[in-house]
Symmetry: none
Subunit: 213 residues, 4 copies
DNA sequence: AATGAATGAGTGTTCATTCAT
DNA sequence: AATGAATGAACACTCATTCAT
C-alpha cells in the first residue's frame, strides 16, 4: 500500500508537471502551433511519456483547461460561500475572478483557445463547472431581491449578463495586454495595466449603474 | 477612365462576391476546416482566381472580418449620431449592436475565429475600427456626466467595461446558441432564444445597476 | 471533346505510369517498407500528385493488384476461349498462367503481399475476378466428363484443387526464386529455374496422375 | 544438477507457455497488429519477461512457426514411415497434412503470415525442415517408379508439384474459411466446409489424374 | 528473475500556394 | 484573366525495446 501510494504520488506529480508545462507552452505558442514534442522537450522527457498520462494532444489541452476551471471555481466558492450580503458576494466574486486571472494570466489564453478550437468541449466543461456558478449567482440575486437590497429584475437574464460582463472584461484585457508578437510568436507584456484595476468600475457599474441617484 | 472604372466596378463586384461566399463558408466550417477550394467551388471559379483578389487565405479571412466590422460600426454610428441624450445613445447603441449580430449571425462566428486564429491581427483591426467607437463612447459618458445625468466615474474604464459587457453577452449567446454538433461538424440551431432579448436587461443594468433606488 | 479526350488520355497515361512504378517499387521493397515518397521519387513527381490519382497508399496498392488480375484473366480467357477440347483447354490455361507470371514476376510478389496485408480485400477482388475462372473451369470439367474424356469426379472440389495446384506451384517457385536478400531488402534472382518448366509436369499430373496405366 | 534441471524444466515450461500464448494471439490478431504487451498481458507477466526467453518479437514469432513446423513434420513422418506402398504413403501424407491443419487452424494463419512478413526467414526454415519431407517424397516417387506402380516422371519436379498442391489447397481453404471481418478485426468462421473434405479429391487427382482410363 | 515506465524513430496524408497553359 | 495540376512542408501517434529498480 505504501508502494502504491508512493507510486501513485509520483505518477500524480508527473501528471501535474505535464499539465503545468503544457499550460505554459500552449499559452505561449497556441494550441495549433504547439507540437507535442515542444512540451516533451520542455519537460526533458520523451514524447511517448506524455501519451502515458494523456490520451492525445487534444486530451492534454482539455485537461489543462479543466484543471484551471476547477481551480477558478474553487477560488471563487471558497471566498464567496462565507459571505452573507448579496452585494458583498458580488463584490467578492468579481474581485476573486479578476485576481485569479491576474495570478494565472496563461489561463486566459487557454480559455480563449479552448473556446475557439473545441467549441463543444468547451461548452460541456464550461456548463458543467461554470453552471454551478450561474446557479449560485441566481440564488444570490433572488436573495438580494427578497431582502429589498436589489431592484426587481429578470434573474436568469441578469445573472447571464453579469457573467458575460466578467468574461468580456477579461477578454478585452487579454486583447490589450499584449503589445506585439515577436518573431517566435511570443508576446511582450505591457506592464502599465492591471486586471484588478477593473474590480472597482465593474462592481460599481453592476451595483449602481450609470445614472445619478 | 470609363473602362477603368467599369473594370474596377466589375473587379469590386467580384471582390464582394468572394467576401460574401467566404463569410458564409468560413462561418459554417470554421477557418481551419475551410479549404480555399471550398470557396472557389462555391463561387464556381478556379482556385487561382481567389488569389488575384486576395493575397492568401488568411488575407481573405481578415478581409471578411474587416468588412463586417466596418458594417457594424457604420450601423451603430448611423443610429447613434442623430441622437442627443447620453442615456438614449447608450440604449440605441446596445440595441443596434445586438440587432446587427442577430441579422448577421455568421459574423459572430467570424469574430470568434479571428480572435483566436489571428490574435495580433484581430487586435490591430479591432483597435483601429473599434477605437473610434470607444472614443465616442467616452465622449458620450463625459457629456452625461457634464449634464448631470450620469454619476461621477472613471470614463476610460467605464467605457471599456460597457464595451466588454456587449462582447461578453454576444459570446455567451454564441456559446449557448448551438445545442449539439452533428456528425458533419455542422450545428443545430436553438430557436427559443434571441439575442435582442438581452437589450433590455443589459440597458437596465448599465443605466440603473442592481441596487434599489 | 478533343480537349477532354486528350486530357483524359494524359490523366490515364499518368495513372498507368503510377501503377507501373508502384508495381515495381512495391514488389521490390514490399508494401510496408515502401514509403509513398519512394514511389513519387521514382516518378520524379511530388507526393501529392499520387494522391490526385489514388485515394491513399492502400488504394494504390490494391489498384496495382486489380489491374494485374484483370490482365491475367484477360490473358487466360483470350487463349482458352478459342479452344474446344477440355484437356487442351486445361493445358492452355496452365501454360498461359505460368507464362503470365514469368513475364510479370513482380506480380507474384504483389499477389503474395495483397494476400497477407489485405486478406478481405484480396478475397473480394480474387473472388470477383477469379470467380469467373473457376466457373469456366467447372464447365470445362463437366464437358470433359460428358464427352467421356474425363473420369467421374466432384467437379467443384476438383476445380478448386486444380486452381490450388497452380497457385501452390507459383508460390513455391516464388519462394525458391530468390536466393538472398541484400542489405537494401532487394533480392538477387536465381537464373537457373523457370516457371514454365512446370507446365509439363503439372499438366501431366493433372491429366494422367501418378499411377501407371 | 537437480536444481539446474528443475530450473531448466521450469524455464522450458514457461517457454512453451509463451509459445502457446503467442501462437494464439498472433493467429487472432496478425503479426503486425499484435503488440508484445498483448502477449505478456495474456500471460499475466511483464513485457520484459518475454525478452528473457526470446530475443525479440520477430524471434518469438519465428519460434512459433518453427515449433509448428516441427510438429507437422513429426506428425507426417510418424504416420508415413511405418508404411511400405508408395501410393499408400502419399495417401497417408495427404491425409495427415490436412488433418494437422484441421486440428491446428491457428497454424495456417501463422504460416501465411510468416510467408509474407519474413520471406527469407520463412524460406530458410521451410527449406531446412520441409526439405526433409521433399527428399522423402522424391524417394517415395522413385520407389513407386521402380516397382512399376508409378509412371515415368521427373521426380524432382513432380515432388515439388505435389507439395505445391497441398500448400495451394491449404491456402485456398484459408481464404474461403473466413466469411467476413467484424469490427474488431476478428473473423467469423464458416462451418460448412472442412479441410479434410479435400483428402479424397486431392489423392485421387494425384494418383489417377483426370483422364478416363 | 521480473517488472513496466520511459523512450524516440518512423510515415501517411492534407492543403495552401504556385505557375504553365 | 483564369485555371487547376502539381507541389512538399508539416505533424501526431504507435509500439518494440531498454534498463533502473
Amino acid at each position: 500500500m505504501d508502494i502504491k501510494e508512493e507510486t501513485g504520488g509520483l505518477a500524480q506529480r508527473r501528471r501535474l508537471g505535464i499539465l503545468d508545462s503544457a499550460k505554459r507552452i500552449f499559452a505561449e505558442q497556441g494550441y495549433r502551433r504547439t507540437k507535442v514534442e515542444d512540451i516533451s522537450n520542455d519537460l526533458s522527457v520523451g514524447k511517448g511519456t506524455l501519451y502515458r498520462y494523456f490520451p492525445d494532444k487534444k486530451g492534454l489541452f482539455l485537461s489543462v483547461f479543466e484543471y484551471g476551471m476547477e481551480q477558478l471555481c474553487a477560488a471563487i466558492f471558497s471566498k464567496v460561500d462565507s459571505m452573507e450580503s448579496p452585494p458583498e458576494k458580488i463584490k467578492a466574486a468579481v474581485r476573486t475572478y479578476f485576481e485569479f486571472f491576474e495570478d494565472n494570466p496563461q489561463f486566459i489564453e487557454i480559455m480563449m483557445q479552448v473556446r475557439s478550437e473545441f467549441r463543444s468541449e468547451f461548452r460541456q466543461i464550461h456548463l458543467e463547472l461554470y453552471g454551478k456558478y450561474i446557479g449560485r449567482s441566481q440564488t444570490n440575486l433572488r436573495n438580494g431581491m427578497a431582502n429589498g437590497q436589489f431592484r426587481e429584475m429578470n434573474v436568469e437574464q441578469t445573472a447571464d449578463v453579469i457573467s458575460a460582463l466578467l468574461q468580456g472584461v477579461l477578454q478585452n484585457f487579454y486583447l490589450s495586454e499584449f503589445e506585439t508578437s515577436n518573431e517566435n510568436g511570443g508576446m511582450a507584456k505591457r506592464a502599465d495595466k492591471r486586471l484588478t484595476d477593473y474590480v472597482e468600475p465593474v462592481t460599481c457599474l453592476v451595483l449602481e449603474g450609470l445614472l445619478r441617484r
